[in-house]
């Protein structure tokens, strides 16, 4: 009985609104009595004391953060609003059992509001982060996506892309379509590409750089600087085999699909559909750099093709070594786009050393071209 009395003594602060009170409410102290009635005392003069019979309880106010206890008095409707957390707890704890349940459910409304707000916030954050997530997923799976897409591109389309790249290249440098150098290159190249699905076309660019590149669809461009620095037809064949391997493995196409996909995704997400994506894709193709893995694949495939054509792979090895040991301040473009030269050389050397085959010398004399 003593304990019960102590509990009912517990008071809680709030604001009382009602007839005869200031519009903004007056500070008041509330307490529950044993019969589930709320006693509210306004301490400021004139001291008022109200006893609320059968009060209604609801979560109310800004963000439903406060508890509103309303009842009809003699003069009109009254409301006692509890805002402070400590007072809310005291009110809940000291309430008689029937009313405590209603207070709990009213405070539950506030919890639901909080949860929904947080859920909305998370949704908003996800929505804002969506572009980044999409790009991240694409980057993580770009290899698989590229493989999937490349398989669906027919060889005729690829050849058309190659034409586009060739046309772009013609604008930037002088390309020879015929002549002894082109004949020599295509003679060696055709040995390496027997049975290919691509229709190979061979070109020589009149440039002093030691470089060569393979565009999609079997367009192979060799720089005249490369022919000049090649010691023998076998050395040239080694480089050609490497480039043919790139074309056969569709490396440049894959690279293009990847970068196109990313750019398309970015423009989709940023809403920039000005068409710039496709316009300079062909330009980018000419300056594509392959990954280290693609280079290794191309080396292996190139070597396999040399062996199949009975061309001495030591030429390839010699030429790579020559390029690597020339000791220029910056490595020639052919190697600079091809990372980890030393490692690749070592790999090739081991592979070539393991081969015990008879090689047929190429009947082409490069010295006449120089």
């Amino acid at each position: 009985m003593v304990c019960w009395a102590a509990m009912t003594e517990q008071t809680f602060e709030g604001r009382l609104f009602g007839p005869g009170l200031p519009g903004a409410g007056a500070e008041a102290v509330g307490s529950w009595d044993g019969q589930g009635r709320l006693r509210v005392v306004v301490e400021v003069t004139p001291r008022t004391e109200l006893l609320a019979e059968n009060p209604a309880i609801a979560a109310a106010g800004f963000n439903a953060a406060s508890l509103r206890i309303t009842w009809d008095g003699d003069a009109g409707a009254y409301a006692f609003v509890i805002e402070k957390d400590a007072a809310l707890t005291a009110c809940g704890v000291s309430a008689p059992s029937g009313i405590a349940g209603r207070i709990l459910s009213a405070r539950g409304a506030r919890g639901r509001l909080e949860r929904r707000f947080r859920f909305g916030g998370v949704l908003l954050a996800l929505f804002l982060a969506l572009p980044l997530i999409l790009i991240g997923v694409f980057l993580l799976n770009s290899d698989r996506v590229a493989d999937w897409a490349v398989k669906r591109i027919p060889h005729e389309q690829e050849a058309r892309l190659g034409d586009l790249v060739l046309a772009q290249t013609r604008l930037r440098m002088k390309i020879l379509d015929s002549g002894p150098a082109v004949d020599a290159v295509s003679a060696i190249g055709s040995k390496l590409t027997t049975g290919s699905l691509h229709r190979y076309r061979w070109f020589v660019a009149d440039r002093p750089d030691v470089n060569a590149f393979a565009a999609p669809g079997g367009v192979v461009v060799v720089f005249s600087g490369l022919i000049r620095s090649a010691g023998s037809a076998e050395e040239l064949a080694g480089v050609l085999a490497h480039e043919v391997a790139h074309a056969e493995l569709r490396h440049s196409l894959r690279g293009m699909v990847k970068s196109l996909g990313l750019r398309a995704l970015v423009s989709l997400l940023t809403g920039d559909a000005s068409g710039g994506v496709f316009a300079d894709a062909a330009t980018r193709l000419t300056e594509l750099r392959f990954s280290r893995e693609a280079e290794r694949e191309a080396d292996d495939e190139g070597l396999r093709r040399l062996v199949k054509a009975h061309i001495d792979p030591n030429g390839m090895l010699r030429f790579y070594r020559k390029l690597a040991s020339e000791g220029r301040p910056s490595p020639p473009p052919l190697l600079s786009t091809h990372p980890a030269t030393g490692e690749r050389l070592e790999r090739l050397r081991r592979e070539v050393a393991g081969l015990k085959q008879k090689w047929v010398p190429l009947p082409i004399d490069l010295t006449s071209l120089k």
Partner: protein
């Protein structure tokens, strides 16, 4: 936390400014850029963040500043401190046509929720915080957005809004439907919610939008008759540069005459 008691006087009718009298040692905080004039002896000090008290170290200040950025106020507040031995005055001007409402925070229980951007100045010690509107529907359609401003303390605060301001007292359970955007401030005991206008026809053609804001008592609310954005819309609509009609001012030979003839009398 002792609040500074501030005497004030509001001047003007539609474009108002408030003159605050500071006793020796008293201070007021103003939104950056609203100070109109101050008498000699008042020291102006720009503080990073809230300006309510010099507490909390660097991180606390940063948090306060971040809050102000969210509510659309500037990062810095200015504190006006009376360093002299006599009473001195400093005035703060409202930035657009409207009324200034003085609110004595201790009269309303210490907290006022108001529209972001509406704070003008206050006695030093009033803290400016943000109050997130956590009812998603109200945040989206209530016209005040998700971020509101919370003024806490027991001193004077001055809030400013557009057009004519109306202070209303809502009795317990009394409810009022308000056009969205017209709510300036309310006591935290007031329920702020939204209500669909009722009929599809009214929603589409009624011009009041899809929702009303509803305010349910008990407590005090303050409403504005002309939200700044509405005024700005009208000005832009009638600006000649934006294709609006020019109402005949300008010279006889200017575009005004022709515009006036063709545009009719409006």
């Amino acid at each position: 936390m002792a609040m500074d008691v501030v005497d004030y006087e509001i001047f003007g009718s539609e474009m108002q400014y408030v003159e605050v009298e500071l006793d020796p040692g008293e201070a007021a905080v103003g939104e950056a850029g609203v100070m109109m004039y101050m008498q000699s002896g008042i020291q102006m000090d720009t503080v990073f963040g809230d300006g309510s008290q010099q507490q909390g170290g660097f991180m606390g200040k940063l948090m306060g500043a971040g809050k102000r950025l969210l509510t659309g106020e500037s990062l810095f507040t200015t504190v006006f401190h009376n360093e002299s031995s006599g009473k001195r005055r400093v005035a703060f001007a409202a930035p657009y046509p409207g009324k200034i409402i003085p609110v004595h925070l201790s009269d309303i229980g210490g907290t006022l929720i108001c529209q972001k951007d509406s704070f003008l100045c206050a006695a030093k010690g009033v803290s400016l915080g943000i109050a997130f509107q956590k009812k998603l529907g109200v945040g989206l359609f209530g016209g005040e957005g998700f971020i509101m401003q919370k003024l806490e303390g027991d001193g004077m605060a001055f809030v400013h809004a557009g057009g004519t301001l109306k202070e209303l007292v809502l009795a317990p359970g009394e409810s009022l439907r308000v056009d969205t955007g017209c709510v300036v401030a309310f006591q935290p005991s007031v329920d702020f919610d939204i209500q669909f206008v009722g009929k599809i026809k009214s929603a589409i053609f009624g011009g009041e939008g899809l929702f009303f804001a509803t305010l349910t008592g008990p407590g005090k609310v303050w409403l504005q008759s002309l939200p700044l954005s509405r005024l700005a819309n009208r000005i832009i609509l009638s600006a000649p540069a934006a294709g609006g009609r020019s109402a005949d001012q300008g010279s006889l030979l200017g575009a005004g005459v022709l515009g006036g003839l063709l545009g009719g009398n409006d």
